[in-house]
Symmetry: C2
Subunit: 171 residues, 2 copies
């Protein structure tokens, strides 16, 4: 049974089968659902975390480098994480980042955009120092409804090996 906390499915269920290091292979791809970003949430997120005029105010944004209201890149990153957590990429023990090789926002996110992510496994390797785990390198591209990439993130994720308790690991 999937458990729900605040409407968010966080565990259990057939669709939640956790994957161990041995289950990942270079070339695998994982899609996601969609999430819509509204102008009001762009502004309230920015007021709390990135209070710059081009994320807060339509008029100020028109005269900025963004030429119109744009979401904070950190808002895009946070929504990408939501899509990723709910995608079929399900490392046992959770999505735990050990650092990033690439991270950029090639195109602004606008009010009303519908975002989705595509993840591709580009490397799988056991840990030399920790036999119970390994790392996978995943390129996660966030697209808008026009198919434009709004974020590219290459992450190194800690993944337990089958037979471990799924929770060991370095931080």
């Amino acid at each position: 049974m999937a458990r729900t906390r605040g409407g968010v499915v966080v565990g259990g269920g057939i669709e939640m089968t956790p994957r161990y290091l041995e289950d990942f292979a270079v070339g695998q791809t994982y899609g996601s659902g969609h999430i819509r970003i509204e102008g009001d949430r762009i502004k309230s997120f920015a007021a709390e975390f990135d209070p710059q005029p081009f994320h807060l105010d339509d008029d100020a944004a028109r005269n900025s480098i963004f030429r119109g209201l744009a979401a904070s890149g950190w808002h895009t990153a946070a929504l990408t994480m939501r899509l990723l957590v709910e995608s079929e990429l399900k490392p046992a023990g959770g999505i735990v980042g050990a650092g990033f090789d690439e991270f950029r926002w090639p195109h602004p996110v606008r009010p009303g955009d519908e975002l989705r992510v595509e993840s591709e496994v580009i490397e799988v390797r056991p840990s030399k120092s920790r036999p119970e785990q390994g790392l996978i390198k995943v390129r996660t591209t966030t697209f808008n409804q026009d198919g434009k990439a709004v974020q590219v993130l290459v992450s190194n994720l800690v993944v337990p090996r089958r037979g471990s308790d799924g929770n060991n690991g370095a931080l």
Copy 2:
């Protein structure tokens, strides 16, 4: 005069003097104020953006890789941006990232932590293709109250040159 929107100072005032490319030099450092992260906000941020048990639930977190409730790294990143926007690093035209060279979370952020950032300019270079602007590379380290680094971010920021309108630029 500084203007305030929702309690957030977003422009004007002596302390807000914008800096152009010519004002930045390798070795300059910029501190910040402090911000406290509460357990309830860790959980509500995670429910919206990173719904994994170790960010949502104290009991589940104890048995996870984090060995206790930890903030989503994206929450840490967003709070770092808030501290950075309100720090004395004030590029004319705003803090606009053109990509990152390094990004990692070496230590978990816990409920009640008090975060601050230190930024160091490590490179300044004019743009070859856009004479009205340049890039600065800045290492921003986020520290907790014990002086432990919880995030390291090396950003490339777009900065206008003096005499430009401060808003030109590629995106």
